[in-house]
Subunit: 381 residues, 2 copies
């Protein structure tokens, strides 16, 4: 199909005029292809559709709505203002948001941004093909949303004892653009042996002390935080993250100060400021957190600069395990299509056909550090 | 004169067509008035003129070119790559950049951005009227550029033992848009009893150790840093600031995290990263700086949040001393014309006619903190 036909098809599927759509094609609405399947990505909120909305343009087009962004709490106490009565306290896992759909007899894994990720698709198909297929046969108009976590993925590396190198934990289900009551997710997960994120507690919205106790426990266990939900999703969920992860994010990001570092810094500092206020840190506590924060900012960034001065490449490294050669080549094609600057290195070909690959995503920090070292000039002012 | 006449006059003065100019008026080129004097400010690099260029539209228009931005060194060693042979090491003072001009029998103080600041003008007139007038009579086509420092100004408060509440230290002279050899500045300052910034040393560009010794001394004395210049300005100057001031700036800025804080943070962290690398901090040193950095980020911001929670206003406070009532009212008019959100409080009327005023500049942090505390939500993601 050429672009013209695709936009016509999209126009029919959305009930939006061709002209209205076509002017956004290429910028805000992107035409993509996964194997033979054409699909479309909404790269921002547009024409009544959320950022990250995907339209699969097979014979019968399917609209997969974007997952709504979740309001962040500055203060734990804020939960009592937002919620109605009871609050389901769920673990927020440190990974990446994936909607899994079953479409034209196949499973596709869609990232938060609305792209079908070939790597995630291949791994989820290998793990949960049957379960997901059966689930969608019983709940055809319900979309599973969950977190992919573990050490084997190209986005967020975090080692969870309960997850293998790669696993998928469902946290919501959606019908069209609406989040469904939590019991539907739990029902599906139980029936079809799918994993869900942990429910840590169900509390009354006024029971802030209990909520603080839960968060303090997560803090000690070095977990990311919580998502707080109304059991029936009558009001939108809220999220809250631990001091541990706020500082750890900065640490990870500051290995690439001009990439993730710059983006991570301010938002996470704002979270720490709110936490310092709500927990009323004394001088000793402030010193303890300040030292950690300061080191998280400086140490990884200085280490990267030393590495660059020693001639090393500054790139983020991911270990990926592809179930087959075909999955690998699909991923490389995808990485090129989204303009990723990367280097691949095959590390191992296993007997079961799996291919272990090291992926290096090149960083802007590499170029800026190179220039700094060469000229002696500072890159800012 | 109406706008039309002013643009015509500007067109003549610059030799640029009316149409080319008029489309920028109000946005990139701003028409301003100081008393009876009409003037124009270039708010960005445009039509061959630098950002901060001011054109005084009296009978004979005068173009006061913007002061060039100075390249910052990431590494002290970079100086040897940039310079020709000898390097004048001058103290960089922590204040604000002011061009002083003598025009139509009056002295005007122009800020870096190109505005005539009525406060600075009044104070400099009071201190150095005669000296500056005489200097300009001998050097009519030379513009003095210097730093206003001290505790009595509406921009940068920093207590220098050698400066009174308000003083002016010349660091350059310009002819048209060119920096002049340093001996001209020194000549003028000596002849007319004007102050200059300190010359700390004159070194060979390869004598990095000597330069590092100077910077280490400034570090201990809690001074801002150095500007490094070719004596004849054959190559542009360079600047380098101390770790002390990089962290102090963050501390000051983080009292208003959503205003100065956000802007100060990343650039100053980049400077510290480069310093950590060049000085090859060991673990103890890294801890010492990290703790200071972490506290500079968190403590002032948490304190401001506590203040707001206690119902206080979040605003930056300046003490200004106006030589006369007329100077005060000119300043209020100016503050309104540039859209400043401020509160004034007269503190004292001295016998000599001076009026002491407290100026509170309202901060966006005030509004964001207010909303955070009210809703419990985080302002970012």
């Amino acid at each position: 199909m050429d672009e013209n036909e695709l936009v016509n098809k999209l126009s029919d599927a959305l009930g939006i005029e061709y002209e209205k759509l076509s002017k956004h094609i290429g910028r805000s609405i992107r035409l993509m292809k996964y194997g033979e399947l054409n699909y479309v990505v909404f790269r921002r909120d547009l024409l009544g559709y959320r950022e990250g909305t995907t339209i699969l343009l097979g014979e019968e087009p399917l609209i997969v709505h974007g997952y709504p962004s979740i309001q962040r709490l500055a203060f734990i106490e804020g939960v009592s203002k937002h919620m109605i009565d009871n609050v389901v306290v769920e673990e927020k896992m440190n990974g990446y948001n994936v909607r899994v759909v079953y479409y034209m007899n196949n499973i596709y894994a869609i990232t938060r941004g609305g792209y079908i990720c070939p790597y995630t698709t291949a791994r989820i198909r290998k793990l949960y093909s049957k379960n997901i297929k059966l689930a969608y046969q019983e709940y055809p108009d319900t979309i599973l949303v969950g977190e992919v976590v573990g050490t084997e993925n190209p986005y967020v590396i975090y080692d969870y004892p309960e997850a293998r190198g790669f696993d998928y934990f469902i946290f919501d289900t959606m019908k069209k653009d609406k989040l469904q009551p939590l019991r539907i997710r739990d029902e599906i997960a139980e029936k079809y042996s799918l994993k869900t994120v942990r429910i840590l507690d169900i509390i009354n919205k006024r029971d802030i002390d209990r909520l603080k106790t839960i968060i303090n426990r997560l803090e000690k266990e070095r977990r990311e935080g919580v998502v707080l939900k109304d059991p029936y999703q009558r009001v939108p969920p809220l999220k809250y993250t631990t001091i541990y992860i706020n500082i750890r994010d900065i640490w990870e990001g500051m290995r690439y100060p001009f990439d993730e570092g710059r983006g991570y810094l301010f938002s996470r500092i704002v979270r720490l400021i709110a936490q310092g206020y709500e927990y009323d840190w004394n001088n000793t506590e402030l010193d303890r957190i300040a030292l950690k924060l300061g080191r998280a900012i400086l140490e990884p960034a200085i280490n990267s600069l030393k590495k660059r001065a020693n001639g090393e490449i500054i790139a983020s490294k991911y270990t990926l395990v592809f179930p087959s050669e075909d999955d690998l080549s699909k991923y490389i094609e995808y990485a090129e299509s989204i303009g990723m600057d990367f280097i691949f290195r095959v590390v191992e070909k296993r007997e079961d056909g799996c291919i272990v690959v090291e992926l290096f995503k090149m960083k802007e920090t590499h170029n800026i550090y190179t220039k700094m070292l060469k000229t002696g000039y500072s890159p800012l002012d």
